[in-house]
Symmetry: D2
Subunit: 461 residues, 4 copies
């Protein structure tokens, strides 16, 4: 397809052309809607400053809505040879509208278009990820509440250490995910600034209104310095993937625990038969392979994080084509984390503790420290009590596990996990995340329909 | 030295002993003060719940202050064979105070000690990094203001693209650092929760008061679930290093620009002779080697980030010795970024633009887009204007660069960079960061002196 | 599609099913031919030990050839829901041949099938990479020979350092690629062992003939221990990607040089207009963007290397589903390097030095060291000569650059680059790599046609 | 200390000076001996081409031997302010010998000195690593032979899969290490070329004899192109660390297995009490923490690999200061792997299988596939036999595990592991590696003593 920069002179070598595009176009399919939204806001602004006549704006709006309709029907997919989504959109408008189409690119560059497309894509995806993460946390809290008092060995160094509970185990993961949620929030805020108007990296000698564009797109504000806008390409994606990497690490730890606890040797948990896979050679196998994949995918996201940040290191300022290579690891990371959250939520929901085996695993040595503390309470200095118990482990008296769990009453211990507060925190945040996602979708629908509206604003920066 | 867990039975093999400790002890030297602070708060709490008598608390306080004094004089350094800082502190107290020393370890484990030590270390280091970063941003804003109107070619793809200015270039980096600052803030908040009381990972069957400890140490609050406290080892360090990696990427980009712009070929900037190094073989060389090191060190911090996060992936829950391996990459990353910020601030402060060469580099093709916009303003659709200019590049009329800079008046462009607002933002945040650092130091001094005080509190979580 | 391990009981949850397969199936399309080759050799062996009757072997051969035919016509592509290529092949044979099809999986597992498929895939791809790399090296040597005596500044620290030549510059890259070639060779040897017969990881209680299979497939021999065969999954791919990463690093260095040397500021080289791309906003731009992509793709391959090796770290022995995640980074790395080599070869072939600008850049300070050596030859100790020249740089006498190049006569210097020897080395290896690639293709064609033949053997291990 | 490049003009800023040196000097302590060896060979060459008089050579030799003597006594350590080892050595010679000392740097640069130092360091360290690796492999083969027939469950997906044996398990690791050994060998060959004479990257206008230097230092030959010599800085270290990373991955897998198999839940192996560590709070704990560290250190080496290769990506040709940053991750990787090999060898040597628990874990479902094969041998197609067994798992007949192990007679299976061949391979290679290490040490002693000798030669390149 024709390229925006062709001037009727030398043709690009075919090998180079294929190399330049690669599978980037495939990923651009996900940017059709953001590109249209950005174009709508940009066109409104061009009309507001007099570059477009009102009827030209109407034509462009109609053309852009047509693209959304075609896209919804799968009729606007990138094809081999399409250089990028921005070119495809502009070419469509020129073909459909003639000279009016040739005006849409006034005061912008593909450099700031791809920036704004990615920001819009990320706004939605981050909120979807927050929702999926909080749903997973909710499943963990439910599981923790249900089995709050089920005794379970606590491990350190993969060796049995002290008495713990299923509630403690699951509650720990819920709290971990809540910390990950706050990282997603921090990434959301840094993503929430409109880069449009930075053009090729150096602005334009036209009196454009960047605030209007930011408001129409639902951003918290304008990303100020035009060169910084370009220099932040990849950087914002990198921040987001750093947060996603933390989510994957949390899930990979949970996955490893689930794998251990479902072996024949541990036998603490069962997973529903509808979630396991078999072997082509061993008729008896039930493999928890989705958890293996979650474990492995943590490394995939870490590798993508490395790709994005590695590409950025030492790049001179201004747009560099290198940035194109950050798109795939970024989008694949988003997809990976969304899928891993859904699978983990499903897995947690299907876990069934085997209380008998759990209790049987709570062997006497788990209580060695408790015994030492009894001696402490009789006045023996802790280090002496520790040594005394250490050389008489075989004499530890029998203990009632459930009783013992209840005795750990300080904040965050098995007898005082604060699960209700966790549940409330998760529920509150989940409702807020859903509401925010609805709000932004609504804002964008208004932009498409041409409905006048205020900006969504944001925190003062 | 004697180990806390030895019970007079088998001796640890010497090869293994060396392997277990490695250079970890060296890094533990930085945790002496945090370990003492944690011990002071823990002892106060043990006294408050009746495990220690008031005079025992006094003795422990005196012993711990003695350690601080010795440490300040370089007399409390880790030696080969010292297993870790926690052991060294407890052994010192037992030797000095007898049975009272043996009581300090009641209701805690080295696992939660190292956690709290690292959180205290990180609180200070994050604030120091914020101060250094904001000082570097301040140098950039000063440089931008001074040379706001100096014309300079703007590059894309490492090729001359459009007119830009030295003010735009430097202002872009100031804004980038401000975004990095907000990542440091997000990491600070996640670090600001007290893990003490989680013990080996599973709490203790004693009625300890975790909130009191958190308040005395100046944390925003208690990290609730005891197992999550342990599972967050490495995770919080990883979050911090992720933020530090972003800082290094910003600096590496600046470094690459400075290297290019100081070559004979560009010649845009000069760096002070006191900052450059020479060659052992070529008498004429002046190398900007500190910028080369900054460029390289971005990859060092990325590698450390990978080390920390890689270690965490797929680790089962509860303490694992693997965590020890995260200490070095974490602390080295902190040191690296602090040094790189100081060196970059110094370098920026010494930069001298060569206005003559900058102007000479603003060759006519930089104005090709401006010319296209002139045609747009005469009613030619942008894409047609673009093609028209593209085939008549040799006919571009001469342009006054400074005049042209001033014409780019939209937000964030060379004629409207908002440098004063940047300066105010930097100044305000720098003052706040310094005040916060002073506040926490003051809080800790009170803890050492035994002065009663309130907690520092924090945001509701 | 039906799964090999389904036994008519619980159905796999749809979310999990999608997660398990992901885009793995897409990558399995590249394993259709290897899977058929492996199946052909396996079937021959089953016939040789009496598990299959001769006519059953004939039927299976015909069925497998049919798959190859369909695949060549694009009619055997993996479809959504196909679990993997092994399942698809077996299902096809069962549908087509009935009970005979059900026998093909005797004494093997999908675990050893995917192993052997990847080894066969890698054999071909490594040889193709060697050919592409040597062609690129050949282009560099030709370029070096053509411009052997063109003076050029030599840089250190990105600053002009000493006199060098275009021949030195290009010859350096040719030699670097020859070192990379030897890494590819080392990887080839480690890949060249047949894992078939290791089954699920633990062999089978049947008297299979693993040597026969290895010979028929053209491997150097059998990978002995069955568990090691499985434990080497990902490891061999990792070794290959480590070698590929080195190739990409070489190309990224060359790319960076080409980008610098084609800026307006350096202006040393021109690249053909058919290889450059334009800007959508700046009519004058000619971007060497394929070199930017090569620079960026080095980080992509480093990230893939990290993904593969990260997945392996700490995995317990025996097959783990995690291995599936190594397939994509592996195959994408292979594709990336093959494309980058072709693009680089094309770019090098199109480079035109601008001798005038090169000569103009050979400014007097490049000869400072030469001047010091003149003093050395007059008896001044080097360090004194160095200091003497260092303080009188403005007095350096004019020098004839070409003359000076010829005076550097020691091995590997500009006057004695040994380009002819390099050319011979490249030519010899290129011929050998092509011959080897032809040989293995011929061997496989014989396997498909059922032609009896000897094994290809290999070096004694 | 005085810098080689100071000319009595501007002094380097103290902050920059500290930043430039960092902890690089610490690592330079390991290069004192290599630097002296390189200087001896260089001085011999300078004498051979007439730059040094015979008596000057004698003086330099004496001075350099003095450095070795001081270094052996710990009296030649790098001190704060020493720029690097090369400067320290030259300064020592100048102070001791006056003008003769000032001549040693003729025709070389610190750039090629550090290159040759690292190659010499690597020659020795690679051979030491080969010896340590082969000793570890030997321990594994001994363990495998001793417990060849001990039954053990074989796992896939961390679930019990099929019958295996302790011999199979340990033998798999021995073979894996042998593959790693061949990677070390490949790295050794690429390291074995002398870069001396490349000087600052562009050779020298003096008739130096690079072959003589290579011979005296025991290299296989000369690294030809002077610019490639410099461009290979970091690349060779990267190749070595890539091989070391593979070793660590092997050890991390073994470590994870040992950790699993020594839990209470598995209980397959015991580790000697002299190798385990305790807990400061739980008196009963016996932690296999050295294996946890090995597992974690795999990620450390992967991160170092990333650091080295990341620094190289996109660096322009010629020396860049960035290379300095590769020294630490390189040397630390070498140390890490040497220590991990020694610890693993010790651990393997102390492992005691618990045959009773191993046998008890060989539960009937392990034989499901065997049963399917029995049906196959009765003529049932495998896929039918598989399904038949799959739905009647509870009816599997009892099996004699040892008997069954012996029945797996094909190459590489439990009944035919080829352990004797492995043992011979390990022994042969170990002897060869030790001999090679002795040979190179002997060669270097002769260089120090001034003994005339031939080069060690190498394979034709």
């Amino acid at each position: 397809m024709s390229k925006l920069w062709e001037k009727g002179t030398a043709r690009l070598d075919a090998l180079i052309e294929g190399f330049e595009i690669g599978d980037d176009a495939t990923y651009d399919n996900r940017l059709v809607e953001p590109d249209v939204l950005g174009s709508l806001a940009h066109a409104e602004m061009l009309a507001a400053i007099g570059v477009l006549a009102p009827e030209e704006l109407d034509q462009l709006r109609e053309g852009l809505r047509e693209i959304l309709r075609l896209h919804a029907e799968g009729e606007f997919a990138m094809e081999p040879g399409d250089e990028d989504v921005h070119t495809k959109v502009e070419n469509f408008l020129v073909t459909r509208l003639g000279d009016v189409g040739k005006k849409i690119h006034t005061a912008r560059s593909r450099n700031d278009q791809v920036l704004v497309d990615l920001r819009l894509y990320s706004k939605r995806k981050l909120l979807e990820t927050e929702v999926a993460l909080l749903e997973c946390a909710a499943a963990l809290v439910r599981f923790a509440c249900k089995h709050e008092w089920a005794p379970m060995p606590g491990y350190t160094h993969m060796q049995r250490a002290m008495l713990s509970s299923v509630g403690t185990w699951a509650g720990a993961y819920a709290e971990m995910l809540l910390d990950d949620w706050s990282l997603l929030e921090a990434a959301y805020e840094l993503n929430d600034w409109s880069p449009l108007g930075s053009a090729a990296s150096y602005g334009v000698p036209l009196p454009i209104d960047r605030q209007l564009v930011a408001d129409r797109l639902g951003f918290a504000g304008v990303q100020n310095n035009v060169l910084y806008a370009q220099n932040s390409r990849g950087k914002v994606e990198g921040m987001i993937v750093q947060a996603l990497a933390q989510v994957m690490l949390s899930l990979s730890k949970l996955a490893q625990d689930v794998m251990l606890f479902t072996t024949s040797e541990y036998g603490f948990f069962h997973v529903s038969d509808t979630l396991v896979t078999g072997s082509s050679i061993m008729p008896q196998k039930k493999n928890i392979s989705m958890m293996e994949l979650v474990r492995a995918k943590a490394h995939i996201v870490l590798g993508y994080q490395q790709q994005i940040l590695g590409v950025l290191a030492g790049l001179p300022s201004g747009y560099n084509k290198d940035y194109q290579e950050t798109k795939r690891p970024f989008m694949d990371s988003v997809d990976t984390v969304l899928a891993a959250l859904a699978v983990t939520e499903l897995t947690v929901g299907s876990l069934e503790p085997d209380e008998e085996r759990l209790l049987a695993a709570c062997t006497p040595e788990l209580y060695a420290t408790d015994r030492a503390y009894e001696l402490v309470q009789q006045g023996v200095p802790f280090r002496d009590a520790y040594r005394q118990v250490g050389v008489s482990l075989h004499e530890l008296p029998p203990v009632d596990a459930r009783e013992s769990l209840r005795k750990r009453t300080h904040q965050g211990a098995s007898g005082n996990l604060g699960l209700q507060a966790q549940e409330e925190a998760v529920t509150r945040r989940l409702a807020a995340a859903r509401e925010r996602l609805d709000g932004i979708e609504h804002h964008w629908r208004n932009l498409v329909s041409g409905e006048p509206q205020k900006g969504m604003g944001g925190n003062e920066r």
